[in-house]
Symmetry: C2
Subunit: 212 residues, 2 copies
Amino acid sequence: MISEKTIERLSQYRHFLREFLKENVDHVSSSTLAERCHGQSAQVRRDLMEMGYRGKSTRGYDVEDLLAAIGSYLDRPGGEKVALCGIGNLGRALLTYFQGSLSNLQVVAAFDRDPHKTGRVIHGCRCFDIEMVEKVIAEQGIQVAVIAVPGPDAQRVADRLFAAGIKGLLNFAPTPVRVPPKTYVEHMDMTMALEKVSFFTRQLAPARGAPK
Amino acid sequence: MISEKTIERLSQYRHFLREFLKENVDHVSSSTLAERCHGQSAQVRRDLMEMGYRGKSTRGYDVEDLLAAIGSYLDRPGGEKVALCGIGNLGRALLTYFQGSLSNLQVVAAFDRDPHKTGRVIHGCRCFDIEMVEKVIAEQGIQVAVIAVPGPDAQRVADRLFAAGIKGLLNFAPTPVRVPPKTYVEHMDMTMALEKVSFFTRQLAPARGAPK
DNA sequence: AGGATACTGTGAAAACATTCACAATCATCA
DNA sequence: TGATGATTGTGAATGTTTTCACAGTATCCT
Ligand SMILES: NC(=O)c1ccc[n+]([C@@H]2O[C@H](COP(=O)([O-])OP(=O)(O)OC[C@H]3O[C@@H](n4cnc5c(N)ncnc54)[C@H](O)[C@@H]3O)[C@@H](O)[C@H]2O)c1
Ligand SMILES: NC(=O)c1ccc[n+]([C@@H]2O[C@H](COP(=O)([O-])OP(=O)(O)OC[C@H]3O[C@@H](n4cnc5c(N)ncnc54)[C@H](O)[C@@H]3O)[C@@H](O)[C@H]2O)c1
């Protein structure tokens, strides 16, 4: 099984390959790509090897071809339909963000329990009452969801989502959620992220006047 | 040097310890804590060992005492002042979020280049024009910043922040930024996160009718 | 008091991830 | 055409993180 780290880097390589494409660069070497990503060239080569890609040697990788290869490896053919639960401050920001970026991911349905927030169409995404969640997910065959409801509601909403057939979840609530086996969950904890930054900042740059 | 993973988990342990405290649980064993975190008890013990904590044996860890120990290890004494750049959809959501959660982190200044967004005070945080960034950061001695400006502006804003004396950065822009040595940056890439969920969802739960 | 119990702390093993280092490859050019 | 040089693909080495497994220790119970 391929490692999470490799998948993250492939997504990152794609980002930079798109930039290279815009700059009309048609070939990149592993070292050029590594430089942009702040990594090692051997890492780049090994990652591509992991996904079974073989570049034409001596000229580096063909940007367009490699982009296509990463795409066909990472992306669900036909696009990944995503459900969003919680249309509050964060939920609305996420909607704007994901609908704006042209990508393989498309938020096709959003859910909230507040009737003021449902019934509309935001950025091409229909907003439903949370009570519709099972029906809409089944009808559309949605497999991936995002949770942006308050912490205390997160587990309950997650349970409903998995019961409805969701297989993968991106959770923004501060509470980690328990999920059934054979499903995948990613927890984006911004407090943790900022605490980490705060901690390592102190490690690297101790207070003014501190020793060594 | 302590590992990032360990710091992340310590932050997570803290979350659950607070819950235990609310439930009037006064002692937890490494295995109870591990269970909540979906991890191994040996991992918990080793993490606490890493930060130099010794529990009283046989009854597990004293919840209050351990919370205090994690706090004094992770948190900057007196609180960490944070600057936020970009008061758009995401920036405002983040402001609400961080100011709402009682924690050691406090967003004390926000910056934007749009004059409609500056001059106000949002959730106790003053909003300045980006041109004031050097002055405010120096005056307040801010060391940690969050970037929530559009991708194409991220590098420029980051450069200014580091020039102004910032040592740690949490970057929400989709473009990774280059930073000076002896500083720390964490890149929260939500597209990458969702792509990862999409990918592993397919690995674990292949399309209906797919083989095996 | 002494033995049973439940837990920690940690060395050592295992698993995993990264980096090194070099033979193999192929465009290019004299 | 054949030597040159840049670049890949990958086995092996190294480094890091997690897990195992158990000796040691404090508490509880009889
Ligand atoms: N705002 C941020 O920047 C931010 C950052 C990190 C994490 N978070 C987390 O993301 C979540 C949402 O944050 P927010 O700022 O958007 O909060 P919010 O209160 O603005 O929005 C929450 C939304 O969820 C809806 N909701 C509540 N219970 C529901 C349920 N059972 N089913 C469906 N919808 C329900 C509410 O009606 C509301 O619209 C919270 O868990 C928060 O901790 C937010
Ligand atoms: N909205 C989301 O949920 C989301 C999710 C992930 C990542 N992001 C990223 O976060 C960033 C912000 O997203 P957003 O949705 O809030 O965008 P937005 O356009 O709503 O807000 C951007 C803000 O930055 C300000 N700004 C622009 N250039 C600036 C500069 N040089 N100095 C100071 N301020 C400047 C703008 O005036 C605006 O207020 C983007 O990079 C986006 O890709 C957003």
